[in-house]
Symmetry: C2
Subunit: 157 residues, 2 copies
DNA sequence: GGTGAAAGGTCATTAAG
DNA sequence: CTTAATGACCTTTCACC
């Protein structure tokens, strides 16, 4: 189920230079083109690679403020809350969690002032009792996966 | 600085079917091929589209457990903590935040038991006073950007 | 709009588990 | 025996000028 060392190198190469094709990748890796193609097909089939969609930066869209909100939910309202938050564009991500928190969501906003509007819109829903928000100041480690890929590849015998 | 409606449609189309090229995209959108190409170049230049790297699923790599840890940092140890956490592959993301929390990080692990090991490794660092962890149970809204793109595109005149 | 190149597929051969 | 890698060939499609 895991990935081997060659899979890891393919993923790393594609992450570094997404524009290169299968042929160029095979050249750089020193393997046959068909091999790279077969590996990629397998990685997609296994769900390891979900796709190659565009990575959009919310800040460049005009939403430079990011925050994480911990939501406390009324008993039995979880389903309604999810359905509601799906409809809020500024909610980029939503998780249900253990702990008192119940839910954790990632928000973006146009400014700190605008964040208040977003939070009001989130908390305004009936099923949400209260929200505790942490505004992101810096992002020393942006969402990454390569180190984990390397570890997973190395652990495969 | 924002994006217009056509930009939005281009991004949406590429998100839905990343494999299609510029030519096929222009056909579907009913615009000239050069237009799509120019728009894409501009979106990349503006930083709206950061790239087309592979989206890797940690679960498929053997790390199905996700957690968010709020870290409390010793005064003046922030820089050291960042440098340390960068070296931990299971740390997928790290933010410094407002509030008592100081830092928020996203972790993955091979199992709930393995999560303990990861947390120990994180908290084991000297500059970290303590960690409060929320384990993710469900993910009703996986990281998404399209609704925000649509809103940003609609708001542009 | 034309052209060189690459993607994607199939095949037979070879190697390794 | 099964799985994977390889190099060859072919057709369609795209990117670039």
């Amino acid at each position: 189920m895991g990935i081997d060392e060659l899979d890891g190198r393919i993923i790393k190469l594609l992450a570094d230079e997404p524009r290169i094709g299968v042929l160029e990748a095979s050249r750089r890796l020193g393997v046959a083109r068909g091999t790279v193609q077969a590996r990629l097909d397998r990685l997609r089939a296994n769900g390891v690679i979900r796709g190659f969609g565009p990575q959009v930066d919310p800040a460049a869209l005009g939403y430079p403020v990011t925050a994480f909100a911990t939501l406390e939910i009324k008993q039995g309202q979880g389903t309604d809350v999810r359905a509601y938050l799906v409809g809020v564009p500024e909610v980029l991500e939503l998780h249900t969690t253990t702990g008192h928190g119940d839910m954790l969501c990632r928000l973006v906003a146009r400014s700190n002032a605008d964040l208040q509007r977003v939070i009001d819109r989130v908390v305004g829903f009936d099923g949400i009792v209260r929200a505790s928000t942490a505004i992101v100041m810096e992002n020393p480690v942006p969402l990454r996966i390569i180190p984990l890929v390397e570890q997973a590849a190395a652990e495969e015998t």
